[in-house]
Amino acid sequence: MDSTVREAGRRARRHAYEDGLAELVTGALFVAVGAYILAQSLVKPGSVWWVLLGVGLPVLLLAGNWAAARATRALKSNISYPRTGYVACAPSPGQCRAARWLAVGVVVTLAILVLYSALVSPVLLGWMALGQGVIVGAILLMIGWQAGVVRMSLLASVSLVLGGLISYQKWDATLGSGVFYLAFGSVLLLTGAVMMARFLRANRPVSLDSDDE
């Protein structure tokens, strides 16, 4: 019976990713971030615009996260919940701890990469896109493992390969990061759109007003 309850929990987690909304919203955020970083790569390094765009990136990330969370909630309420219902997963203490450590790891790694890019030689900067591919891939793998969503593992592989390919081009680090987020955001938008189309085809809004007994 334990495995039955565990499987019910996994089904509830999978339910959150059935509609492709998470990918659509995250993809849109990645495309916006990628376009922003690409714009920064076009500006002369050290110029006022370059500094301003650099300072504006954390603002874009914070505002983007806030907007993404609100958009996801609104879209789920209007599109997903009337079709397949609402379920809130019970957070297991172990998974919460792991997710918290992963988030801390991502923030610290990004901070180190950015500081390194600003202060030290650009030798490792060429591998920035690969580093981002590994971090994004790790997050996707974690989601896939928690919810049992196979396509998250495939997306993690795409993230890794994309990061590696971009790093191999030996582009400027800012350009590489911009291309990575733009390209991977587009992949997320594509898979999200496919999942959403399948979800809408398979599920019609359910009216709970009348009984069907």
């Binding site: 334990d2 509830a12 309420s77 219902g85 609402y86 009984d211």
Partner: protein
């Protein structure tokens, strides 16, 4: 058979089946309880899809679980859409845990062959 078992009677674990919580033991309610035990809360539509019950059946079983104090039901509106949120109460969690324990013990003593 343990030392506490009466001579000629079935084992204590098997006898415990007689005292199983019948509110949870009913198959449809067992499924509902198992789903709610695995999540924080779920709405009526989610339970409807997961259990495969009809709306009337699900309503009846949820009402019985609510009467027993095992499920807390909150009704409201989100915009124009009505929602019914269900979650296991602490008493429900305890009853389900005890049920699982009793059944596991009894099944363990039955053997498969």
């Amino acid at each position: 058979m343990s030392r506490d078992d009466p001579p000629g009677g079935v084992s204590g674990e098997l006898r415990a089946l007689i005292g199983l919580d019948r509110v949870i033991h009913e198959p449809a309610r067992l499924v509902i309880t198992a789903i709610l035990a695995a999540v924080d809360r779920a709405d009526f539509l989610y339970l409807l899809r997961e259990t495969g019950l009809t709306k009337g059946n699900l309503s009846t079983h949820l009402a019985k679980l609510e009467d027993a104090g095992y499920v807390e039901i909150t009704k409201g509106f989100e915009g124009k859409r009505p929602f019914t949120l269900c979650r296991l109460t602490p008493a429900g969690v305890e009853a389900f845990t005890e049920y699982r324990r009793s059944v596991s013990r009894a099944v363990g003593h039955m053997g498969a062959d």
